[in-house]
């Protein structure tokens, strides 16, 4: 059951970022390394917060900062540290999963994601 939820959350990320160029989410680790995937996901719900087209995949630190800062609009606390993400070869998948799941939960609470309980 845990595996199902992980896969479902991953599929949800893929679906929400599908319209965005430069994003290909295959896992909770390497796919998020340059920070663009975070930005795309957050931008999907807060399109006025920043201009997606001006982002630079070679500036991961900036991208993480922008994404996490904007995600606070949903009430999502910045659980991940940009420095940690940049330093390691690949982001730690458990950490990324924890953050995405928290972001999702906050979106549900804000009513930005339709659920069974709140159609």
């Amino acid at each position: 059951n845990a595996k199902n939820v992980k896969q479902m959350l991953l599929d949800w990320c893929r679906a929400k970022t599908e319209p965005y160029e430069g994003v290909d989410i295959q896992n909770f680790s390497s796919s998020w390394k340059d920070g663009i995937a975070f930005c795309a996901l957050v931008h999907r719900f807060y399109p006025d917060a920043f201009e997606y087209s001006t982002l630079n995949p070679y500036k991961p630190r900036d991208n993480f900062q922008l994404a996490f800062s904007t995600a606070r609009l949903a009430g999502c606390p910045p659980l991940l540290d940009a420095e940690d993400l940049v330093r390691m070869k690949e982001p730690d998948w458990k950490c990324v999963y924890t953050y995405i799941q928290e972001f999702y939960r906050c979106l549900v609470e804000k009513g930005l994601v339709k659920t069974k309980k709140r159609p």
Partner: protein, 440 residues
């Protein structure tokens, strides 16, 4: 070496996740070092209580010994294993946690994150499932319209159930039921102003002629009710009739105002219940004020961090803009929090702290904006400077409402209008600048 690093990263992330939930505890708790603070089981049980909404038995106090720690951890583990969604705790013993063994502790927290949230996530099943079964050709339900359209039902502000419900019941029992008024919330039920009259009537029976007010326009009723409450009961006019005569009046504001009736009736002795109620409402207000201050402080920290970032002017503008947007979205909440409930219009300590924090972070952003604009190549740089100088007089100030002074509110409104037009020209300027930067 890599495992040590990975452990450190997970420790940081998991700690932040735990703290984001422990902040909701009454009183708020915080884990400083995960491996140390988890040992006695107190924080762990508090976390599980927050996540599950259930109360768990916990051995607390100064004279706790190891045996109590083991008991607490045992309670926590048993609780997890007994959940509806079976959580398998392989290789996790109470003693390992009490010893603070890093890999075991991380494993436990990860298990909680993973399994505990399954219930919550799976209750959103339809949304998630739609994507696991579909392939790359997505239907219209995943287009951008579903994210930008407003939610169907607007949730009332997350007020703690207890005080709000009790205050509502007090209103119904003392004031509105006997008049046949149906008050079921702190929003639309108050629009006509009749409910306010009912409360005043309950406290001062001869003051209101209820027959007269039944058919009058809402605005008139509201105006008169607020004025009456102020002159006869000494209750400061915290609400504006035009804010209440809407489809969905702000529940938090109405509740704050109605709560004032609990304490401002000079002739009446307060019952025990009313006293407790008033205390509960005050506690809640202070809690939300403190949370607001923390939010503002955190935003300021981010602003400091962001200002130190090296990067192109365009990227810095992005960062600035995203922080500015967040601040603006909090403005209304901050203004609400700074309404004075005292007779002399003074702010409480908590309110003063919120005001300070707001001013600090908005001044910092304003200075940063000025700096960014000055860094633009001419002629944009000079245009920016002019705008900032002109706006200087109207630094993003939150005007504290003078409850008893009508002229102050008129001035306040004029200032607000000024600010709006300035902010509009400022945002136009921002947009122009962003466009410019896009192509350079």
């Amino acid at each position: 070496m890599q495992r040590v690093e990975q452990e450190a990263v997970q420790k940081r992330t998991f700690t932040k996740w735990i703290n984001s939930h422990l902040a909701k505890h009454v009183p708020p708790l915080e884990v400083k070092d995960l491996f140390d603070d988890i040992k006695d089981g107190v924080m762990l049980l508090a976390l599980l209580e927050i996540l599950s909404g259930q109360k768990l038995p916990c051995e607390q106090g100064k004279k706790l010994k190891r045996i109590h720690w083991v008991a607490n951890i045992g309670t926590a583990l048993k609780f997890l294993e007994g959940r509806k969604v079976r959580i398998r705790l392989v290789n996790i013993n109470s003693t390992d946690i009490v010893d603070g063994r890093p890999s075991i502790v991380l494993g436990l927290v990860w298990t909680i994150i993973l399994y505990f949230q399954i219930e919550e996530l799976t209750s959103s099943l339809p949304e998630l499932q739609a994507f696991s079964s579909s392939n790359s050709s997505l239907d219209s339900s995943t287009s951008s319209t579903d994210t930008t359209s407003p939610p169907v039902k607007r949730r009332p502000l997350a007020l703690q159930g207890g005080a709000r419900k009790a205050l509502l019941r007090w209103v119904q029992q003392t004031a509105t039921k006997c008049l046949g008024l149906d008050v079921k919330d702190f929003g639309p039920s108050w629009r006509t102003g009749l409910a306010f009259f009912a409360v005043i009537n309950a406290l001062r029976p001869n003051l209101v002629d209820m027959e007269r007010v039944w058919r009058r326009p809402n605005r008139e009723n509201l105006q008169e009710a607020f004025l009456l409450a102020e002159t006869e009961l000494g209750i400061p006019q915290l609400l504006d009739p035009e804010d209440v005569d809407v489809d969905k009046p702000d529940e938090k504001s109405v509740m704050t105002y109605v709560a004032q009736f609990l304490k401002h009736h000079p002739d009446r002795k307060q019952s025990d219940l009313e006293e407790k109620l008033e205390e509960a409402v005050t506690r809640e207000q202070r809690k939300s004020q403190r949370e607001l201050k923390m939010w503002l402080d955190q935003l300021e920290k981010e602003a400091v961090h962001a200002q130190e970032t090296q990067g192109s002017l365009a990227q810095q503008y992005q960062l600035f803009k995203s922080l500015q947007v967040q601040l603006e979205m909090k403005r209304k909440q901050v203004e609400g929090a700074l309404q004075s409930t005292q007779r002399d219009g003074m702010l409480t300590v908590d309110q003063a702290l919120v005001k300070q924090a707001w001013e600090r972070v908005s001044n910092r952003l304003l200075d940063w904006h000025l700096h960014l604009d000055r860094s633009l190549p001419a002629p944009l740089g000079t245009v920016g400077e002019w705008l900032h100088e002109a706006e200087g007089a109207l630094r993003q100030e939150i005007t504290v409402q003078q409850a008893h002074d009508n002229t102050a509110s008129t001035v306040h409104r004029a200032l607000e209008q000024h600010k709006v037009s300035f902010q509009q020209s400022l945002s136009t300027h921002l947009r122009l600048t962003s466009c410019f930067l896009k192509y350079h």
